[in-house]
């Protein structure tokens, strides 16, 4: 197995990212709106010292949000490519089919990291965080991004068409984001929500990012975060690869033509 096909898939995704300026800009604007509008809005309900603290508290959460959206959307090109036929070009290539999933997830991780780096740069320029904190956030961001790509991979291999996109937004992205401790400390949540947060792998990414920012309360230990993120990602990617290698998943791709 050579790396050339993998590089081609990754290169295609990255060049699409830079070509779609609107996607890149919205990926920067969305977190800024959250940070400045929600951050200041909710912050205004808090008092003095806490106000500034909330903005700092939000930085890891907002960064995690960027990674989640970017990784997931990029992983979902597995479905998108099927819809528009390019998947056929990859399916007929002399590589094992699970490599298509792996390449797409590597691409998803990298596109998310590009966006995370741009966001961090913006935050540093705006003086919202220190450059050292930004650098400290990067390794945590990488693990979070892999975890999000793995979630995206799982969703993608089970979706038949991109028509399900709204469903995916409402039933996956929003719950995963809101029930993760990205916007509020987990410890203060009611018990039943606490359990949901604990089974959400994304929570551990958010928590690991919080560890990189001083004076932000965390909910789990660094070791717990890393172990959960790595184990979840490994298992999810294995399942996604296994499922994608089953041909019944691709029958619609070839059958649509025959049934016409």
């Amino acid at each position: 197995m050579s790396w050339r096909p993998v590089k081609a898939v990754v290169g295609r995704e990255l060049s699409k990212l830079f070509r779609q300026r609107a996607r890149l800009v919205s990926a920067m604007v969305r977190p800024m709106i959250w940070l400045l509008v929600i951050g200041s809005g909710v912050g205004s309900m808090l008092e003095g010292q806490q106000q500034e603290g909330y903005l700092t508290f939000l930085v890891p959460g907002i960064l995690a949000m960027t990674l989640l959206f970017a990784s997931l959307l990029s992983a979902l090109t597995l479905v998108y490519d099927k819809e528009f036929g390019v998947m056929r070009m990859m399916m007929i290539a002399p590589i094992a089919h699970y490599w298509i999933v792996l390449s797409k997830l590597i691409a998803a991780t990298l596109t998310a990291m590009v966006q995370a780096i741009l966001l961090l740069l913006l935050l540093v320029i705006l003086g919202l965080i220190d450059i050292n904190i930004a650098l400290g956030l990067l390794p945590a961001a990488l693990l979070t991004s892999i975890c999000c790509a793995a979630i995206g991979g799982l969703i993608a291999v089970w979706s038949k068409s991109i028509d399900n996109f709204a469903v995916i937004m409402n039933f996956f992205i929003f719950p995963v984001f809101f029930l993760s401790g990205a916007l509020y400390p987990v410890k203060q949540l009611p018990d039943y929500l606490h359990y949901i947060v604990a089974v959400n792998p994304f929570s551990y990414g958010v928590d690991l990012l919080k560890h990189a920012v001083p004076n932000v309360n965390t909910d789990f230990s660094v070791t717990t975060d890393i172990v959960v993120l790595i184990s979840f990602s490994t298992i999810a990617i294995l399942i996604a690869c296994w499922r994608f290698s089953r041909e019944s998943v691709h029958e619609p791709l070839f059958h649509r033509a025959t049934k016409r």
Partner: protein, 315 residues
């Protein structure tokens, strides 16, 4: 024993190849032997099992039972090796419309692990066959249907496959584009000597094949070389339009055998090459509203294979 298969001059060989989707048998006990370098056509109506056959031979779907070999390699043994040996032009496009011809073909070449310099030369060569050098950096969206199909075919042969599968390559194209596509395929065959496996339901296009077979309801009906099949059918096809088909059929069946009947039209095969039609015309007289005789073609072979009175099927 199937696995103890020895090297041969067959590019494609199948034994009892079968595909079932639930209760439906899409392809039923297919036995094929296609020699290296042949231009082979698998013909049949929509849903007859043509695409399913191609998908089994190119590892896009696995057979329910039976075996297939491509260039002496067992298809089920190593799908990755088979995918490196074959080229497949799908019925639907496999290209990214938002990317240029060059980007699409470079991407496809990388999927085949071709180094960039070699890919570049190969793309150049293929685009010049298809007359698309000028359009190399044009997005697919801006191309005509025929040009896009040509790029799809170029994509299918980038890696110089031993066997090229073309699944309805001209479907949805107008006549000039269809002709252009066939010129390209002919040129590719000449330049590279690859075996070509074609499915189509434009039968006149299959006349250039070395061998054609017919398939219906997943069952193969042995065919042969198109010109031989046409010769075997008879010297002429006689078509008669009449208000009273029963009577005419009763009159002529003893002479020519059972006709194919479509409403008020009867078609007969006539084997005698010196048959006297003007005599027949006089005999039938006013009973027919029109009558014409012509040399048979592949369409007639197809009709007589699938709709002949012996088959007991309506047209």
């Amino acid at each position: 024993m199937l696995t103890a298969y020895v090297a041969s001059d067959f590019a494609i060989k199948t034994r009892g190849l079968t595909k079932q989707y639930g209760q439906t048998v899409a392809v039923n006990e297919l036995d094929l032997e296609i020699k290296i370098g042949q231009f082979y056509g698998l013909l049949g109506p929509n849903g007859a099992g043509k695409s399913t056959t191609i998908h089994m031979l190119t590892t896009m779907t696995t057979a329910t039972s039976g075996e297939a070999w491509i260039a002496d390699q067992l298809v089920s043994a190593d799908p990755v090796v088979i995918r490196g040996t074959v080229g497949l032009v799908f019925q639907d496009s496999a290209l990214d419309r938002t990317m240029t011809i060059d980007e699409n073909l470079q991407f496809a070449a990388a999927m085949y692990n071709l180094p960039p310099q070699i890919a570049d030369k190969r793309i150049d060569e293929l685009l010049s066959v298809f007359g698309l050098q000028e359009k190399r950096n044009v997005k697919l969206l801006a191309l005509s249907g025929g040009q896009r199909r040509a790029v799809d075919i170029a994509r299918g042969v980038l890696h110089r496959p031993k066997v090229l599968f073309l699944d309805e390559p001209t479907i949805g194209l107008d006549l000039p584009n269809r002709r252009a596509i066939w010129r390209f395929v002919e040129q590719l065959r000449r330049n590279e000597g690859m075996t070509v496996f074609l499915t189509t339901h434009y039968l006149e296009e299959a006349a250039a094949c070395d061998h054609v077979d017919f398939i219906q309801h997943g069952k193969l009906q042995q065919g042969g070389a198109p010109h031989e099949l046409i010769e075997q059918l008879g010297a002429y096809v006689l078509e008669i339009n009449t208000a009273d088909p029963e009577n005419i059929a009763a009159q002529l069946t003893p002479l020519f055998g059972d006709p194919i009947r479509e409403d008020q039209q009867l078609s007969f095969k006539i084997s005698a090459s010196d048959f006297n039609f003007s005599e027949l015309q006089k005999t039938l007289g006013d009973a027919v509203s029109s009558m014409q005789w012509r040399r048979p073609n592949l369409n007639d072979v197809y009709l007589w294979t699938f709709c002949s009175p012996e088959q007991g099927e309506a047209v």
